[in-house]
């Protein structure tokens, strides 16, 4: 088949870019609030643990993190290419490996919650 495998990872990239564009500003704001010492009630242990332990919570968190990881990985591969780094095979394997590790970590910790 002539259609390159890049089409698969591109879908993850596009979905991840869309989801991170919508959700990450709010996410970063939450981290900012925590850093400022204004941790909101929903992020106190009891409340957040309840959310993250629910099936819906796990599904949401997994999908968002999975897509964001692969978006960042593929885009970083393109960034290296744009900076003139010629070892595309090596870079691709490295970034996708990191994304895979992140995915496994996400699944593991969500399972443990």
């Amino acid at each position: 088949m002539a259609i390159a495998k890049k089409s698969v990872v591109w879908v993850l990239f596009a979905a991840g870019g869309t989801i991170s564009s919508f959700l990450f500003p709010a996410l970063i704001t939450l981290f900012l609030l925590i850093a400022l010492g204004f941790t909101p009630d929903g992020l106190q242990y009891e409340q957040f643990h309840t959310f993250a332990a629910s099936l819906l919570g796990k599904a949401c968190l997994f999908v968002v993190l999975f897509l964001s990881l692969w978006h960042a990985a593929h885009r970083l591969r393109v960034v290296f290419h744009d900076f003139g780094v010629r070892k595309d095979r090596l870079i691709a394997n490295a970034v996708y490996l990191v994304a895979t590790v992140g995915t496994v970590m996400t699944a593991f910790y969500l399972y443990m919650i």
Partner: protein, 242 residues
């Protein structure tokens, strides 16, 4: 105004150099008029391509102060007093402002830019197409092959094998044409290596296009088409048309 023009004589020069010309300009001139003035009155050895002077032939593309431009559409009233003219970026220089366009000519052919059908036309009749169906692809028919988009595209600069904006926009024009049945067949070429995936949506091509074809949009839409086609073929649907 002062024109700084890149010169290159393949028989005499080792590399290109700049020559300055002082040109008395009229207010309503395009930069092409200034170049024509140079050729007619100052230096007849200057070589460059031009023809219609009305933005339909695509011949007069050049770099004007570093920006790929159609010189018959770039007016001196919008430019500073000193203008640098160079041949289109990302192409080998043949002579002076003339570039070698063999590569893109070959790519225009590669994308199969013609109606592909599985059946024959109905006897003595023409294919019907509504105005709505025409509107769907009309913008992509406007390309005049000026190749400014290839000059603007850094991915083409980084990888000369990239099929490139104009050829891909042309392919999309046929994919969107209701009379065409060759989308799957074309996608096998477009979604292959050096095809749509080489595009990282810089968007410079669409910004410099003098005819507002928007090749960047065409390519993004074909990435979606390509991804869907990949799964269609994986799931065993024949390379048919949608």
């Amino acid at each position: 105004m002062e024109l700084e023009v890149m010169r290159y004589d393949p028989e005499k020069d080792k590399e290109p150099w700049f020559q300055s010309y002082s040109v008395p300009c009229e207010d309503d001139w395009a930069i092409l008029d200034a170049i024509n003035y140079v050729k007619d009155n100052i230096d007849t050895t200057l070589s460059y391509r031009w023809s219609c002077h009305m933005m339909v032939c695509g011949s007069c593309g050049m770099m004007v102060n570093g920006e790929p431009s159609l010189t018959c559409k770039t007016f001196i009233r919008n430019l500073p007093d000193k203008v640098r003219i160079e041949p289109l970026e990302n192409f080998p220089i043949e002579r002076d402002l003339v570039v070698v366009l063999d590569d893109v000519m070959q790519k225009l052919h590669k994308v199969q830019p013609y109606i592909i059908r599985k059946d024959d036309p109905p006897e003595g009749k023409e294919y019907q197409q509504s105005r709505g169906a025409l509107a769907k692809f009309k913008q992509y028919t406007m390309c005049i092959n000026c190749m400014c988009c290839y000059s603007a595209c850094p991915q083409y600069g980084l990888n000369n094998d990239f099929i490139g904006p104009a050829a891909l926009a042309l392919a999309h024009r046929y994919n969107l044409d209701s009379r065409d049945q060759g989308k799957s067949q074309r996608l096998n070429i477009l979604a292959d290596h050096d095809g749509v995936w080489d595009c990282s949506f810089v968007g410079a091509c669409s910004e410099v296009c003098p005819k507002h074809v928007d090749p960047a949009a065409a390519i993004q839409q074909m990435k979606i088409d390509g991804a869907m086609e990949f799964w269609k073929q994986k799931m065993g649907f024949p390379g048919g048309d949608s």
